[in-house]
């Protein structure tokens, strides 16, 4: 399995409100409200921790889910957030200054996140 690394985009605004994260993309002004699991992945997206480790340590440890199913869902989630320019996904660790705010495309719906343009 190719390891995946995820980093939060510098082009988004985010705030924790009543324990939930609200995110707005500066690229397409889409507003997202993340579910509990999605919030965990978002907060752990530091560009250095592999996605598999985030799933194992943060999700499988807290929720009754198999590692395979959790990873599959997490992978779909991060790919979809990447389509909105909210996360960057790479096969190697991502440094803080790597995210190109213009280099993204808008796209699919995001499992685990409600959105409204």
């Amino acid at each position: 399995m190719n390891e995946k690394y995820i980093a939060r985009s510098s082009a988004v605004a985010s705030r924790v409100l009543d324990g939930e994260i609200v995110i707005m993309s500066a690229l397409d002004s889409t507003l997202f409200s993340l579910s509990e699991v999605a919030t965990i992945i978002w907060q752990a997206a530091d560009g250095r921790t592999p996605l598999s480790e985030i799933v194992q340590r943060r999700i499988c440890a807290e929720f009754d889910v198999t590692p395979e199913a959790a990873y599959r869902d997490a992978e779909a989630f991060v790919e979809d957030l990447a389509c909105h320019g909210i996360l960057r996904v790479a096969n190697r660790p991502i440094s803080d200054d790597e995210f190109d705010v213009a280099g993204v495309t808008a796209g699919a719906s995001v499992p685990g996140a409600a959105s409204k343009t």
Binding site: L17, A26, S33
Partner: protein, 363 residues
């Protein structure tokens, strides 16, 4: 319910100031004839003070941050402020005249992740726009700035304040916006000066021309619906709040003064002397603003327009009573529907004065 409505409802329930409008300066390179500000610098907050304030706002839960002025780019540290705000993950909207924006500035705003830029454009005709701004060549410079912003990929909104001198130009500005790939928003509100001066109110659009605006489908959409008689007032309306001012939003001046809204000059505290959250939570003035519900309003509580009026508590405050009617909004409701407001009836009027004598009431 949309996510934005959910967000606002949650912020209201939690007492979170979701949106803050921060004017970083009142200085400006334009001197618009209708502007309500004193452009002299009477001791703006320093860079360090603004950084400290932004940290407090982030801690308080502020998500939407509007940076404006004056002309915010008149501050040499404007980009430093924006950069710091973005590092704190605010959704940043910049209000500017774009005169000082060239390719470099536009690209930097984009790189910083500014969500949108709102730019005042008064007319598509240079002689009219420049006549209002008192800055020769300003329309061409503003349009060039908008071009750079659009080329950089930024979302731009053209804000078209309508008044006597540009009353015929809304369609022209709308066409201009479409050509630039920008959004368009229209505002026929001229606000009294922050110091209470009312001289600028003479510039307000006459009622006859306001009526034309309200019946222009390009500006209001479905005219029949927009100008329809108000729906009966129900308990939701009577229990409802006038607007977000003081509830989920507030305004901070370049001098650190906190008000419920940029259009509501009721001093509630100063962030140089108090923590932002202390003022937000404990200001008696904000408590009074928050106590206002439709049913509590003087005169307006019995008005047929209560549920649909754009009544601004700030404009009412500037007329002497935040619980009372705002005559400008009474006029809008009347011009829109042909039905006199309770405020007009209380003043013994069922018609508006002839154009030229104006709708404006002495404050």
């Amino acid at each position: 319910m949309s996510l934005m409505q959910e967000l606002n409802r949650k912020a209201l329930r939690l007492g979170v100031p979701l949106s803050v409008h921060l004017d970083v300066t009142y200085r400006c390179n334009e001197h618009c004839e209708h502007c309500y500000l004193d452009h002299d610098d009477h001791g703006e907050m320093t860079t360090a003070e603004i950084r400290g304030l932004l940290g407090e706002l982030a801690d308080a839960g502020v998500f939407f941050l509007t940076l404006s002025g004056g002309e915010p780019l008149m501050r040499r540290d404007c980009f430093e402020i924006i950069e710091y705000a973005r590092s704190l993950r605010f959704n940043v909207k910049l209000k500017t005249n774009a005169v000082l924006i060239r390719e470099k500035e536009a690209r930097r705003l984009r790189a910083l992740g500014v969500e949108q830029v709102q730019i005042s454009v008064y007319s598509h005709r240079p002689e009219v726009h420049d006549g209002i701004t008192k800055l020769p060549g300003s329309l061409n410079r503003t349009l060039a700035g908008i071009g750079f912003l659009r080329a950089a990929g930024l979302k731009v909104t053209l804000a078209n304040v309508l008044m006597r001198s540009n009353s015929r130009d809304s369609n022209g500005v709308q066409t201009l916006a479409a050509g630039l790939g920008a959004h368009y928003t229209l505002d026929p509100t001229i606000t009294p000066m922050m110091d209470g001066g009312t001289s600028v109110l003479r510039l307000r659009l006459p009622a006859s021309e306001l009526g034309e605006v309200f019946r222009n489908p390009n500006l209001v959409g479905d005219v029949e619906s927009f100008c329809a008689p108000p729906a009966p007032v129900d308990d939701d309306v009577r229990e409802g709040l006038p607007c977000s001012a003081g509830h989920t939003a507030c305004y901070v001046s370049p001098y650190g003064d906190l008000y419920p809204c940029v259009q509501f000059p009721l001093p509630c505290g100063n962030v140089r002397r108090q923590k932002f959250l202390d003022i937000w939570r404990n200001s008696p003035q904000l408590a009074e603003v928050r106590s206002l519900h439709g049913k509590d309003l003087t005169t307006c509580s019995s008005c047929t327009h209560l549920g649909s009026c754009t009544r601004c508590p700030g404009l009412a405050y500037m007329e002497g009573n935040m619980r009372g009617p705002s005559s400008a909004d009474c006029e809008k409701s009347f011009v829109r529907t042909g039905i006199p407001s309770a405020g007009m009836l209380a003043r013994g009027r069922t018609t508006l004065p002839a154009p030229g004598l104006v709708q404006i009431q002495p404050l």
